[in-house]
Amino acid sequence: MLQYPSLDSLLYYVNLANATSYSLTDLLVSKPQVVEGSWHEQVTLKNTVVRLSAAPGSPYKGNKQVVYDRLNLANLAGLKGFQVLAYQIPDVHGLIPAIANYTGLHFSTADLNNVPLVDNGDGNLKAVLTAHPDSIAWVGSVELIVKPGGVPLDSAVVEPNLPGLNYPTANDTDTFGAVYLYGYDFTTYFSDVSMIAPGVLSSGNADKLVTALKALDISSGAALWTNTDGATAWNLKGASVVSNGLNSSSLPTNQSYKYVMALNLAAGVITPAGTMYLHYNDPFDPNAT
């Protein structure tokens, strides 16, 4: 099973060849050594030898040398369908999870020299995978083109519990000011609304807005708008104009209108809750062409 991590792969073939069931905790594996043609005066076609030693505390003792083949990374380039996609990976070690995702080859950081990925000049990156001399399973080197993409969704979304969607205020039982006036057109009251400067409403301006609201509103507050002390609902007394002027797409406002006034009711006035937006356009000029 060459896809296994290097030590697991070596152990798999040891057990396969000897009908054993060693585990990784039973054995210590030496650094691999290169062999070529013969080893201990015996002809061999294998390219690597390691010494397997019984781990302290294991039910075994002694050691044994085995020969086997480390695979040449260069051959990866010849495998059809071999590709790796990754986003914003700086170096070879960072690429290891993506290689596992796309090829099933489980390199470890001990297998590969860690070098930066380089810009390939075509929107892709180039990675040079070079086997560390002490890698148990791999030798050689290969260049890989790393195309952008391929981040596993569960890596990109590590927090699946999302904070929303939200209503305009924190209290779900509110009547939301931002929604309440969204559909109303205050253009008829342009001369009154447009002249009001940011700040706390004067009593006169509050009265003007009450008049406008009572005329336009068809919802639950239609007859209730007021400008009096102490009322906790539909009351413009002490309300503050946050802004008044050109509308903006950055505001949660109705973009059918050129102007908008943002109005916060006074503290203690809880209905409607949150910022209200009064939308209006330039008044119609029948002589304009």
Binding site: P152, L153, V157, N161, P163, Y167, P252, T253
Partner: protein
């Protein structure tokens, strides 16, 4: 505050990005597909009160891999519109407005991003009536129901003026505005319009109201030729056929109109209550209509 105006997939994209910075880099908009959302029992310990879960997978033919489920909260229309009476006052050609019309009007007026695919039933609204806007279970970002009323409004002028260039055509001088055309005939409307033929009005009262051709010897033809010779600068008026030479006015259709008259608006005049209209033919020496005003 959620921007309800955004397309629902974008609302969810933003929500994922908020908790998972960089998500949009790895998965640009359009590179994932949201499955059918499913209700989720609200965990009392969940500060977000999430009530929905949806499966996210890479879009076909993209480079993404894997799958993940995210939990979020859908916007309940009944909660969002608490205290609000959603109502349309738009004009529609019929007294029954179909869902394909009221859904876009509703979302535009109230800043939502519902589509017809999100709404169950898709019933129409009758004028002065209402409809329940019921979201489908598979709607990604909305749930619940709200009642939408409609009072049929007045028709907007823009609906009537449908020409893209708002251009009016056909406002031309009789015979057209090109006066340089070789061989262009004299225009009848300009030959005698300003003349007051009241002095021969009693004679012209004999002209047919329904149109008739008169011979060169007819006393009305002779009287009118004499009048035109005496009162216009043209010197070739003659009691002959209009097809045989310049100035002839017989053998054409003569009409008498009582003014004002919608059938001949170009002849209406505050000064006169009668007119004779002599209509040209292809062989005539003039084009259009000679209009003779008089008062009785």
């Amino acid at each position: 505050m959620t921007d309800y105006r955004q397309a629902q997939t974008l609302m969810l994209y933003d929500l994922i990005e908020k908790s998972n910075p960089g998500f949009k880099v790895s998965y640009p908009v359009g590179s994932v597909v949201f499955g059918v959302p499913a209700d989720l029992a609200i965990n009392p310990n969940d500060p977000y009160k999430n009530d929905t879960t949806v499966r996210v997978t890479p879009a076909p033919n993209t480079t993404g891999i894997g799958v993940v489920s995210v939990n979020y909260r859908r916007v309940n229309l009944a909660t969002l519109f608490r205290g609000v009476t959603p109502k349309l006052t738009d004009w529609y050609i019929s007294t029954s407005m179909p869902a394909t019309v009221w859904i876009p009007l509703f979302v535009a007026k109230y800043g939502l991003s519902l589509t017809a695919a999100d709404v169950a039933g898709l019933g129409g609204i009758t004028s002065t009536g209402s409809v329940n806007v019921v979201t489908k279970p598979e709607c990604l970002c909305y749930k619940g129901t709200v009642n939408l009323a409609w009072t049929r409004g007045v028709r907007p002028m823009a609906d009537i003026f449908t020409d893209a260039n708002r251009a009016l055509t056909g406002r031309l001088y009789p015979g057209g505005n090109d006066f340089t055309t070789p061989g262009r005939k004299p225009q009848g409307e300009f030959l005698a319009f300003c003349q007051d033929a009241s002095s021969i009005g009693s004679i012209l009262e004999g002209v047919s109201l329904t149109g008739q051709s008169y011979a060169p010897t007819d006393p009305m033809v002779i009287a009118l030729v004499d009048f035109l010779l005496a009162n216009t600068s043209r010197t070739d008026w003659a009691a002959r056929s209009a097809a045989t030479g310049s100035g002839g006015i017989s053998n054409l259709s003569w009409f008498r109109y009582v003014l004002p008259n919608a059938a001949i608006p170009e002849a209406n005049s505050a000064k006169y209550n009668r007119c004779i209209v002599i209509t040209s033919q292809a062989a005539s020496w003039f084009s259009g209509k000679i209009i003779i005003h008089y008062k009785v």
